[in-house]
């Protein structure tokens, strides 16, 4: 007698099998496969859907709204103008200009042009331009620290405070280099982060200090800003439609 594999029986229990009637017939006569099939069914019953907590819509909307910039639609490009008589010489000129711009563009980039900013949130513009990969570790550490601050219920422990002190020194360097490179968006976010770090470094560790920090300095919003900065660096996270 040919037995069915565990995978085939899982597919059968999930109604994903192409062979449902044959498996069903086999289970009536084979106790070994029937036991395995029942064991799979029991596992699925154990992991049946638990209730899901309902989110507070108003609170979430208020939190999100502060981070929404004003959008404009992408313009659809029409190529109708190519049909006109003057179009092709113009295209030739445009191509020549493009080559010149490419040559001189490198030079302009090196002199530190201010980067284009698109996303806007409550604290200032966030950049969507690629940045120096050296800052990735700093943003990573910043995100971890803010996550810790946002989730801690009592006074912050010594390790977290030491980490804040260490990040404070590094942060000043990154703020300065962001300003020097003309990336005002990154500089604005890091400056805000610097304020949180300074407060953490100077305030005595009381039971309510982390709570007050979260409220007064909007660490949740700052965490979101830092995540956006990190995501801008992460080319592998693209979402396709």
């Amino acid at each position: 007698m040919k037995h069915f594999s565990e995978e085939e029986l899982i597919a059968y229990q999930l109604h994903e099998s192409q062979n449902e009637s044959a498996i069903s017939k086999h289970l009536e006569s084979c106790s070994e496969c029937a036991d395995l099939s029942e064991s799979i069914a029991e596992t699925l019953r154990v992991f049946s859907a638990d209730p899901v907590p309902q989110p507070d819509l108003e609170h979430n909307w208020q939190r999100l709204r502060g981070n929404l910039g004003v959008l404009t639609p992408q313009r659809s490009r029409s190529f109708d103008f190519l049909r006109r008589s003057w179009a092709w010489p113009s295209v030739g000129l445009a191509m020549a200009a493009l080559i010149l711009l490419t040559v001189f563009g490198v030079q302009i980039h090196r002199t530190g042009e201010t980067k284009r900013n698109i996303a806007v949130n409550g604290h200032g513009p966030l950049t969507t331009e690629p940045r120096d990969p050296a800052i990735a570790n700093h943003l990573d550490a910043a995100e971890r620290l803010l996550t810790e601050v946002n989730h801690s219920s009592g006074a912050l422990d010594d390790t977290t405070r030491e980490q804040a002190h260490s990040l404070l020194l590094q942060n000043a360097v990154y703020v300065r280099s962001a300003r020097e490179s003309g990336d005002l968006a990154q500089a604005a976010v890091l400056e805000n982060f610097g304020r949180v770090l300074t407060t953490l470094d100077n305030e005595p560790p009381t039971q309510h200090s982390a709570w007050r920090l979260r409220l007064e300095m909007n660490t949740s919003g700052l965490l979101l800003d830092i995540r956006i900065l990190r995501q801008n660096d992460d080319h592998s996270q693209g979402v396709s439609q």
């Binding site: 994903e16 064991s39 596992t43 154990v46 992991f47 709204r65 639609p73 989730h151």
Partner: protein, 199 residues
């Protein structure tokens, strides 16, 4: 989650948002935030992370709205973004050993970041059994990879068709099926030592 076309209210909301009215986004949030949080909760396994992932997904969708092609429904699109965002969050949490979201346990402990979920209707014995069952389920789910967990919970708990899961995770339908099958197999083995009847 469905492939239905967007209705008039959603189309108008998107048009208004793109015309500069960010408050119009509230229409889309009111309609989809609960289902998005629900899927994020299935993937992340806790309420705080689910809300964070949902927030992040809605923000990413908002910023990408100018490039949103309306050949698919907004609900399908936001779900795809949510799944990716939630999986990324779970992977970040796994990398970040210093972070521990509150977990459900038999005894609450600040040091272990565990909490006790009270069931006011159950008696002490039922409550104990319930807590044990929750603990075991959580431990078994923690053994799954983010991909397996996502595919399994969406297929089994949310009844999402395999093709939609595959599209959202950017994998083939067969790979999505294999992820679900591996997840069920792992969960079954996790329960074997204590379930008695399970083999």
């Amino acid at each position: 989650m469905s492939n239905r076309r967007m209705d008039k209210a959603e189309t108008e909301a998107i048009r208004d948002v793109l015309a500069g009215d960010r408050d119009a986004y509230r229409v889309l949030m009111d309609r989809h935030f609960c289902s998005v949080t629900r899927v994020a909760f299935r993937i992340t396994g806790n309420e705080a992370d689910a809300e964070e992932a949902a927030q992040e997904a809605f923000l990413r969708a908002y910023n990408k709205l100018p490039s949103f092609r309306r050949d698919s429904a907004f609900s399908t699109w936001i779900m795809r973004i949510t799944m990716n965002t939630a999986i990324n969050l779970v992977e970040r949490r796994k990398r970040d050993l210093s972070y521990h979201a509150p977990r459900i346990a038999d005894e609450p402990s600040i040091a272990e970041h565990t909490v006790l979920v009270a069931d006011r209707q159950a008696g002490p014995e039922a409550s104990l059994l319930n807590r044990e069952a929750v603990s075991l389920r959580q431990a078994a789910m923690a053994e799954l990879t983010p991909m397996e967990r996502t595919a399994f919970t969406l297929r089994h708990m949310e009844d999402v068709p395999m093709a939609e899961i595959a599209a959202a995770l950017n994998i083939t339908s067969n790979s999505a099926k294999q992820a679900v099958f591996r997840a069920v197999s792992k969960l079954r083995r996790s329960l074997t030592p204590i379930a008695g009847g399970l083999r």
